[in-house]
């Protein structure tokens, strides 16, 4: 086992353990903190895949924005749940069965797939091409349409979220 593999396995274990704790932690706020750790783990796997730009935006967007927003909401809705009672939905046995089948199916699929067992190709010099990515996002022959649509979507989501969470007494 090479050093690289050991590093990967450590990161993977950290990620999966945190993910498990997100699902099974009793307190919502604990789940949220474990989520941050899980997201960090994913960022670290991105680093081992030579996608350093995505490491940065994973940390900035997922941890810096999304996880923090979730923590704010957890604090805003404090005492929103009985944290001592049953945390599972009724009928969780069936849910667990479904999840188990999905898991078995996906792993079975992956094992059939020859292409993924080869070691990855060596990256050419420069490797990651951030400049290409940036250009591709604004070139009409590449991804400019999705890029613009994403911006429209973000603006619409912000307007709607402000409307929904806004002060209604003042409005009417």
């Amino acid at each position: 086992m090479s050093a690289f593999q050991i590093v990967f396995l450590l990161i993977a274990l950290l990620t999966l353990f945190s993910a498990l704790m997100v699902v099974f932690a009793r307190k919502t706020i604990h789940s949220a903190f474990w989520l941050i750790l899980a997201l960090f783990g994913v960022a670290a796997t991105f680093a081992t895949l030579a996608a350093s730009f995505f490491v940065v935006i994973q940390v900035a967007v997922y941890i810096g924005a999304i996880a923090i927003l979730i923590i704010f909401t957890v604090m805003l809705t404090r005492r929103s749940m009985e944290e001592s009672g049953d945390q599972l939905l009724p009928g969780w046995g069936w849910a667990a069965l479904v999840v188990l089948i999905v898991f078995g199916g996906l792993v079975f699929m992956l094992l059939q797939w020859q292409g993924i067992f080869q070691p990855p190709q060596v990256l050419t010099a420069g490797g990651e091409n951030l400049e290409n990515l940036g250009m591709a996002l604004v070139m009409p022959d590449r991804y400019v349409i999705p890029f613009e649509v994403a911006s429209v979507l973000l603006v619409a989501a912000m307007i709607g979220a402000i409307y929904v969470a806004g002060d209604h007494k003042k409005r009417s």
Binding site: G105, M139, V149, V152, G160
Partner: protein
């Protein structure tokens, strides 16, 4: 087919989408000042704007003889995207006109979100790339989550927004995972290229089938086909009624546009597999939708289950995997759009005056406003598939396609469940003409009457004059085969 290099004339092809964004921005700007001085002016502006966009798109954004991939293969300009775009614009315009009935729902935010969602649908129908497709689906859904929860003072509405969002996000996560496997297997995001790459690399069909199955979860949710239907009754019941109508028609149509494009263009090799899956979904939806509708006492829930059943009939056309089937699907969706929007509009009007959405709220409608009762009667008969209304033609086309494709069993299930459907539509009709205690006349606004007139005229016209729109539907179908 390679994407054509960018030229300025391509901007004309997305002119309707650009104008939708411009209109949304305009509405938001005017919202700052105009709304308080002139009630309803924003709504009329939006509705007229949508009509203008529809005309402009019919003139300028017409596809050529051969389908064209534009903007680096993100969008495909063909008769499918053209026909569906007109459908969405029509649906949005009717929804806006109906919403005008209540000043609460015509704030700039409401209209802008509706427009952005329409933009997303239009892009869904023309996406030719997994990236574009994912983004278009989310652009459609996210504003709709907000619109479902738009009555913030009403707990039911917010709850329906949350439910819609949670179910929607889960299914879209599953669908995205399917996309990622599909990308991994083929190494390309171009929908039309995927089948070629898959044959080249010789991936086992089992793997592709698994990825296809995951994506079908997402599409099944959008068209609310059983067993992915569980959200529909709750969400329709809680959401503002015009939005429920919009969800059950335009949003469903967008789901079908994506479904046929992905199935026919990307998975032709797996046709025997997916026709079977779609046929099962169709049969389940027809049976579950119609049977559960029988027990409903709330009119919006009844219409929700009826819309699940209708999704089943439309899926029969998809399962046929033939030009006739797809043409039947487009025709059915058009007829269903105007019919169901009319039904929801009437439900809204009555429920507001009576203050209840129970079936009994409709008693005496025949006395209170005979014209509206007649319109309700026509739309229920059209939903039930009675000639000479548009719903009949739609049903004939999809069942004929099923028989032609050798799926006689599916056609038989369709006819039998239609009879059940007719039973509960008739129950509602009977209530319309029952005497009631409160017989105060109903007086809808001008905008509401305009919307209703459009719906009823189209219901009758599509039932009698079949050829023009059927030709259009066939043109759309031939772009996919």
């Amino acid at each position: 087919m390679n994407p054509a290099p960018f030229e300025l004339s391509m901007l004309l092809a997305i002119l309707p989408e650009i104008l939708l964004v411009v209109l949304a921005a305009l509405v938001l700007l005017l919202n700052l000042g105009v709304r308080h001085r002139a009630e309803g002016v924003l709504g009329w502006l939006t509705a007229i704007g949508l009509a203008v966009i529809a005309v402009l798109s019919a003139v300028f954004a017409r596809p050529g003889d051969t389908p064209q991939l534009i903007f680096g293969g993100m969008l495909r300009l063909d008769w499918v995207s053209f026909s569906f775009r007109l459908l969405f614009l029509l649906g949005a315009a009717i929804t806006v006109l109906v919403s005008l009935e209540h000043a609460r729902t015509i704030t700039g935010e409401y209209l802008a979100l509706l427009l952005v969602s329409t933009l997303g649908m239009s892009l869904m129908a023309s996406s030719a790339n997994l990236i574009m497709l994912y983004l278009a689906i989310e652009t459609t859904s996210l504003p709709l989550y907000l619109l479902a929860g738009y009555y913030v003072e009403n707990q039911k509405s917010v709850e329906s927004g949350i439910k819609y969002m949670l179910y929607g996000a889960v299914t879209s996560a599953v669908m995205l995972y399917g996309f990622s496997l599909l990308f991994g297997l083929s190494g390309t995001a171009n929908l039309a290229m995927i089948p070629f790459r898959l044959t080249q690399t010789g991936v086992s069909p089992l793997l592709v089938g698994g990825a296809l199955f995951l994506t079908l979860v997402g599409f099944g949710f959008k068209v609310s086909a059983a067993p992915f239907h569980f959200w529909a009754p709750d969400v329709y019941e809680g959401a503002p009624t015009p939005i429920a109508g919009f969800l059950s028609t335009a949003s469903k149509a967008a789901g079908f546009a994506v479904l046929v494009r992905v199935l026919l263009v990307t998975f032709p090799q797996l046709a025997s597999f997916w026709t079977l899956v779609v046929a099962i979904l169709a049969a389940l939806s027809m049976i579950v939708g119609n049977l559960l509708a029988l027990t409903q006492r709330n009119i919006k829930r009844l219409l929700a289950y009826s819309s699940i059943a209708q999704a089943g009939y439309i899926l029969v056309g998809v399962a046929a995997d033939s030009p006739l089937g797809v043409a039947g699907m487009v025709y059915y969706l058009t007829s269903y759009l105007v019919t169901n929007l009319a039904a929801f509009a009437i439900v809204w009007l009555v429920a507001q005056q009576v203050g209840s959405e129970d079936l009994d709220a409709f008693s005496g409608l025949g006395k209170r406003n005979p014209a509206i009762a007649l319109a309700m009667l026509i739309s229920l008969l059209s939903l039930g598939g009675i000639p000479p209304l548009s719903g009949f033609i739609g049903k004939v086309l999809v069942f004929a396609a099923a028989v032609e494709a050798g799926q006689v069993a599916l056609a038989i299930i369709g006819v039998l469940t239609s009879v059940i459907g007719l039973y509960y539509y008739l129950t509602v009709m009977k209530i319309l003409y029952r005497p009631a205690v409160d017989e105060a006349p109903l007086k809808p606004s001008l905008s509401w009457r305009t919307a209703m007139l459009i719906c009823v005229v189209l219901m009758l016209a599509l039932g009698v004059i079949v050829a023009p729109w059927y030709g259009q539907s066939l043109a759309a179908a031939s772009a996919l085969f």
